[in-house]
């Protein structure tokens, strides 16, 4: 946390960290159940995208790499593939918020949707799941919609808590 940040900024950062940490904790605790349902949200990618909105690009990439390796280990996938995909997504996400209007709610929703859709498709295609490309894109689309709803709500709650 930036020591020169103002009090509301610091409070906002704490709340956002709490929101992201909760999403990631739920993901790792209930992973077997969350992976059973096709319409379940991907809280790992959602949490990472939300974290990347606030982190520096380098820190976001490091977080993406760590989460990718841990998730791959749990899923028995290749840690390198998952680490690389999530690192790339986190870095691109952290950079994209400065190119676009990160403060707009609409941007956050579109950002979450596109980020989750692309990431889930890449993970499904490059992982060991027995999915064709069309099936992977379709499955990722459903996940992206649900993830956007859940994570946009979390993001909205953590930002409005300060007002």
């Amino acid at each position: 946390m930036n020591p020169r940040a103002s009090h509301p900024q610091r409070e906002g950062a704490v709340l956002a960290t709490f929101g992201v940490a909760t999403l990631l904790l739920i993901h790792f605790l209930f992973r077997p159940s969350l992976t059973t349902f096709s319409a379940a949200p991907d809280l790992l990618v959602g949490g990472l995208l939300l974290a990347s909105l606030r982190l520096r690009a380098g820190h976001a990439a490091a977080l993406g790499f760590g989460l990718g390796v841990l998730d791959a280990t749990m899923a028995l996938e290749n840690p390198g593939t998952f680490g690389l995909i999530l690192l790339t997504v986190a870095f691109a996400a952290a950079r994209s918020r400065d190119l676009l209007f990160a403060d707009a709610r609409f941007f956050v929703a579109v950002y979450l949707f596109l980020g989750t859709w692309l990431t889930r498709t890449a993970l499904a295609v490059l992982g060991t799941a027995n999915l064709g490309i069309a099936e992977a894109i379709g499955s990722a689309l459903i996940t992206a919609v649900v993830t956007t709803v859940v994570c946009a709500t979390v993001e909205s709650l953590t930002s409005t808590a300060l007002r």
Binding site: N2, Q9, G12, F28, L29, R31, P32, S33, L34, T35, S38, D42, L53, R54, L55, R56, A57, G58, H59, A61, A62, F65, G68, V69, L70, T73, M74, A75, L76, E77, N78, P79, G80, T81, G83, L84, L87, T88, F91, A94, R95, R97, D98, A102, D103, R120, L123, A124, G127, T128, A129, N130, L131, G132, E135, A136, S139, A140, T143, S159
Partner: protein, 281 residues
């Protein structure tokens, strides 16, 4: 809402360097061999991920407890009946072999292991993790089966942990024979246009026809899989005919993802043909 901006160019360069360093780590992980990758998996699963995996175990155990007890009761009853038949067959086989002056039949050794399926987000994984001290030091590949039939093969081991592929893995192959011994071939996984996961029996001689619903078992050729494990049943002849051979679609005997305790097999004779699972495996 306030977000941290990218910052000064110096900071951007540092971010890029950090990202490249971690990308380098990712490429190192990508280049690891199966044994080294298994060491990484084991280490992370027994340290950082241990609390989460223990929670998953608690949920899984509680969720399936009642149905599991009922299922075990049924399995125990049917096994008792089968054991009666098998013991008389053993005696008969030994007597006949001694009359023909043949050496005792070598069955190989079975062991019992805990299986943890891979869980990708979306779709079914074709990979699993095996936990049992019985595989420590054994040469791979090792056949993995359930009482219903062949499930897969362990590719790499490290200590008491092994990583294997279900029969759904694209590289999986097994030599088979029909239960009447009339036709032989090689089975590989096959995904239909509807996305259904089946098996494809290839290399059946052109003049041999296999009727629908014929059971197909492992032939024991190659020594990785024991002879007689159920593989599947013939569904229909596959449309494509390659040269002088037929190919048939098979309905698999076992579908991955349902079993948590499995049988492993290695072609070495032990005094006791089944090794009991060790506590806490």
């Amino acid at each position: 809402m306030h977000y941290t901006t990218v910052g000064r160019p110096g900071g951007q360069r540092r971010d890029l360097v950090v990202t490249l360093v971690f990308a380098g780590f990712a490429f190192v992980l990508l280049g690891l061999g199966p044994e080294s990758a298994l060491v990484v998996t084991r280490t992370l699963r027994s340290t950082v991920l241990r609390p989460f995996l223990m929670t998953h175990d608690v949920f899984r155990t509680r969720a399936g407890l009642v149905s599991r007890v009922e299922q075990l009761g049924h399995e125990r009853d049917s096994l008792a009946v089968e054991a009666q038949v098998v013991s008389s067959l053993h005696l008969e086989n030994r007597r006949l072999r001694s009359m023909l002056i043949l050496p005792p039949r070598e069955f190989g050794t079975y062991f019992i292991a805990e299986l943890l399926p891979g869980r990708p987000h979306g779709g079914e994984s074709s990979r699993f993790l095996l936990n049992t001290r019985a595989i420590a030091g054994l040469a791979t590949p090792l056949a993995i089966a359930t009482p219903k039939g062949l499930l897969g093969v362990v590719r790499t081991t490290n200590g008491a942990t092994g990583v294997g592929d279900y029969w759904t893995h694209p590289d999986f192959r097994v030599a088979v024979v029909t239960d009447d011994g009339a036709a032989t071939g090689i089975v590989r996984p096959f995904v239909t246009m509807d996305g259904e996961q089946l098996m494809l029996l290839e290399g059946v001689p052109f003049q041999t026809d296999i009727p629908t619903d014929t059971p197909v078992i492992t032939s024991g050729l190659g020594g990785i899989y024991p002879r007689g494990l159920a593989v599947g049943r013939v569904l229909a002849e596959y449309e494509e005919q390659l040269g002088w051979t037929h190919s048939y679609l098979l309905e698999p005997s076992v579908r991955p993802g349902q079993e948590s305790v499995v049988l492993g097999w290695f072609p070495r004779v032990a005094r006791d043909s089944v090794l009991a699972p060790e506590p806490g495996s």
